[in-house]
């Protein structure tokens, strides 16, 4: 396995903290370490296909500045525009009445 076989850079994966990794993986090749047989949580490697899973750490050596990727625990809430308007209208009611009284010429 050499650098040329990596067609695309891989996405950042979970750092395997149990095993002390000292190897640093640059985004476009360089040294890498093979995690033989063990799959990290949420690890993504893109279209790169190789034996076992390669966990790559980018930009982190022995420092504590490691980035972890987790799925959100809570579901994503989407508020529809129509609901927001109803709440807002009730809240603005007093201010709107005051605005009309203050600007009598145009209303």
């Amino acid at each position: 396995m050499n650098r040329d076989e990596l067609t695309q850079p891989a996405v950042l994966a979970i750092v395997d903290r149990d095993k002390e990794r000292t190897a640093v993986m640059g985004q476009y090749g360089g040294r890498y370490e093979e995690a033989s047989g063990r799959r990290g949580l949420g690890a993504e490697c893109g279209p790169v296909a190789m034996r076992g899973l390669v966990a790559m750490v980018s930009g982190c050596v022995a420092l504590a500045g490691c980035v972890t990727v987790n799925a959100p625990a809570k579901p994503i809430v989407i508020e529809l525009n129509i609901n927001i308007k109803q709440e807002v209208v009730y809240r603005l009611s007093g201010e709107a009445a005051k605005t009309i009284d203050e600007n009598k010429g145009i209303f």
Partner: protein, 131 residues
């Protein structure tokens, strides 16, 4: 010969002037007379989005008047909406709700169906989201 002006008739005359100057209805306000006339004639009406609209064929000066007023309204809405941290559209909509409620019987307004209605003595037809 010295003319003596009695104080009482002068006071009465002054009072009559003052009463005459009072607005005939609650909504007479400080409106431009041309605007007030167009509104009364049914050429100009309130829309639910908070702006004025023209109804049918109107003379160009009325169109221009309505444009000017709408621009001024938008400026006020923008300022107030920013203070309240809401969109201009939301604030304009809320003001539109109030404006339609305050229309005098005989004035025209646009209902949620998009058609122009004449205000009666009863409640106006408003959007369901109005407070």
């Amino acid at each position: 010969m010295r003319t003596v002006i009695s104080r009482r008739p002068a006071l009465i005359a002054l009072a009559m002037l003052a009463i005459g100057a009072l607005p005939a209805s609650g909504q007479a306000q400080g409106r431009d007379p041309a605007y007030a006339a167009a509104r009364e004639a049914g050429q100009v009406g309130e829309k639910p989005d908070g702006y004025l609209g023209t109804i049918g064929a109107v003379p160009p000066q009325v169109k221009k008047l309505v444009e000017d007023l709408n621009i001024k309204r938008k400026a006020v809405y923008a300022e107030k909406a920013q203070a309240q941290h809401v969109t201009i559209e939301d604030f304009a909509f809320t003001t539109g709700c109030h404006q339609i409620s305050r229309t005098e019987p005989g004035e025209k307004y646009q209902g949620p169906d998009g058609a122009w209605h004449v205000r009666t003595a009863g409640p106006a037809l408003r959007d369901a989201r109005c407070p």
